[in-house]
């Protein structure tokens, strides 16, 4: 019965006892490792899996002890000497045979994965992490898009990884090894952007003391990545469309045209269809860019990826900061997984980095996480049902606020209200010094 259930799972599954010996292995993992159930049972799991995640027994021991699920990316080396990238997920179970109670063991799920980050256990080049069906779809589309030379439009919320995807597309394309030039269309004023993109001749305008080749020429035979293309002015949109159609343009102040061979990848967090409807973006350029469209899902829609990304960025941050942090505590994990991540992967990465730097022990707790992770929950639930931070008293009900400054003002007012107007007590409640509170009261004009 148990074997039938295991074999019905489309990923590799292994059951381990408390001594980390194999007690069961499904047909998928038998195929991946090259070992039959008869051969594998009773053998130490690391000898069957031959994973690159190093001392697998110490990791498994920690999972057995803490009961906390762990995901790691690495390679599995099979009997046929073939190494493949996989994701290992280790979870503790109370009974490995489904019948006998108090016989704890581990369930190891092995899924095929894209090549992942260094530190996940081996060599790597890819920077994209995700195993949700939504991201698998993105990876599949990327494999197709990389084989073509057509323009690609990447859309998605801010921080969702559009830049990374553009780099990966370039690296996987026939243009890999050639230039990959990134230009942020929202970062420069129109006149400067035109010169930056198309170049200028010496003397074309005041300050043009020498020729500038422009990004299009620098990206010749390579890829030009225009990020925040939704912020491009209408006049530059016309010029860009002309370059895309003819592969030729006139640098600012020049009377001779330049021909380039550039693949264009554009990205924006804006809804370009709406921009077109509101006449802020040219329809013809939209259709020209929208040859191949890749939509990156927001993190809140990527089921299961938050946990994976937390582990990924934790390992990276621990390595970079030479920290001794080992993981998150249960409450912090619950909060982090439940958070909506409006800033997507970028916000998550920064949050983990904050936690690693603030943590004084070996496990990141709620107190080591930024306050804003807790604030939106209070606002959404009007402070009634949201769990307060364990190290701070429950706040009084607050009214919805939008910006950080408003939130802080609201917190100060609530604390003052709770403290009955006593500033010393309010400062204690807020976890700040009296002087800081006094300065903030002055700044926000709350006197």
């Amino acid at each position: 019965m148990l074997d039938d259930i295991l074999n019905a799972i489309p990923h590799g599954v292994m059951l381990l006892d408390a001594s980390l010996l194999v007690r069961g292995i499904n047909s998928r993992l038998q195929e991946m490792t090259g070992y039959s159930a008869g051969e594998a049972c009773g053998i130490g799991a690391e000898f069957i899996l031959r994973s690159s995640i190093g001392a697998g027994s110490s990791l498994a021991g920690k999972v057995l002890e803490s009961g906390e699920r762990v995901c790691r990316n690495g390679t599995l080396l099979n009997r046929r000497r073939i190494s493949q990238w996989v994701q290992f997920t280790l979870s503790r179970v109370d009974s490995i045979d489904g019948e006998t109670e108090d016989r704890p063991g581990l369930v190891l799920v092995v899924e095929k994965a894209e090549r992942s980050e260094p530190g996940g256990g081996g060599r790597s080049s890819s920077t994209l992490v995700g195993h949700s069906p939504q991201m698998q779809d993105v990876f599949e589309r990327m494999a197709i898009l990389a084989r073509t030379d057509a323009s690609v439009l990447i859309t998605g919320e801010t921080g969702s990884g559009k830049d990374r995807i553009a780099e990966e597309l370039h690296e996987a394309s026939a243009r890999a090894g050639r230039a990959f030039i990134k230009v942020n269309c929202g970062a420069l004023p129109e006149a400067l952007l035109e010169s930056e993109l198309f170049g200028h001749q010496r003397g074309a305008f005041t300050g043009a003391v020498k020729d500038h080749p422009g990004m299009f020429r620098l990206a010749d035979h390579g890829t030009l990545f225009l990020t925040e293309i939704g912020d491009l002015s209408l006049s530059l949109q016309v010029k860009l469309l002309s370059v895309l159609d003819d592969s030729r343009f006139y640098p600012v102040g020049s009377s001779s045209s330049v021909t380039v061979d550039v693949r264009l990848i554009a990205a924006t967090h804006r809804d370009l269809r709406r921009e077109v409807a509101e006449e802020r973006f040219r329809e013809d350029l939209f259709f020209r860019l929208n040859v191949l469209h890749l939509r990156v899902p927001p993190l809140r829609d990527r089921a299961g990826d938050v946990r994976l990304l937390l582990d990924h960025f934790l390992r990276r941050s621990v390595r970079l900061n030479h920290s001794r942090v080992e993981g998150f505590d249960t409450e912090a994990i619950r909060r982090l997984v439940g958070y909506r991540w409006p800033g997507n992967v970028r916000e998550l990465r920064n949050t983990v980095e904050y936690g690693v730097n603030m943590c004084r022990g070996t496990r990141i707790g709620c107190g080591d996480l930024p306050d804003y992770l807790f604030e939106p929950l209070k606002v959404r639930t009007d402070g009634a049902s949201s769990a307060p931070r364990p190290d701070q008293p429950a706040p009084a009900p607050v009214t919805p606020a939008t910006g950080w400054a408003e939130l802080e003002q609201q917190r100060i007012l609530n604390a003052l209200q709770q403290a009955g107007g006593r500033r010393g007590r309010a400062a204690e409640l807020l976890g700040m010094g009296r002087t800081t509170l006094w300065r903030k009261i002055k700044d926000y004009n709350l006197e």
Partner: protein, 109 residues
Amino acid sequence: MKLLIPTCGNHVAPRFDNATEVLIATCYDRQLLEEPRFILLANPSAEGLCDMILKEQVKCVVCCGIEEEHYRFLKWKKITVIDSVIGRWKPALDLAVGGELSAGDILRV
């Protein structure tokens, strides 16, 4: 003949490229000539291990998991590779010295 086994505790190391310790033994006429010596590696590296095998003039490597690339390299250098051996290094060494160890052997206790 010199023989090398990447080890991990009492066992043959699960992976050739992740081993941090190796055993080198010299045998003649199916008998060990001396006690095997252990060498701790500064860091795990398949390439570093291959270099050491060539430098030490090892003729036979007994290991568990090894990537095809390194297996082929060692074979090309005319080194016998007995891979996918699972078990403790002592019986593996005894069997290898006696010429009775084969690739894929699982040496259960």
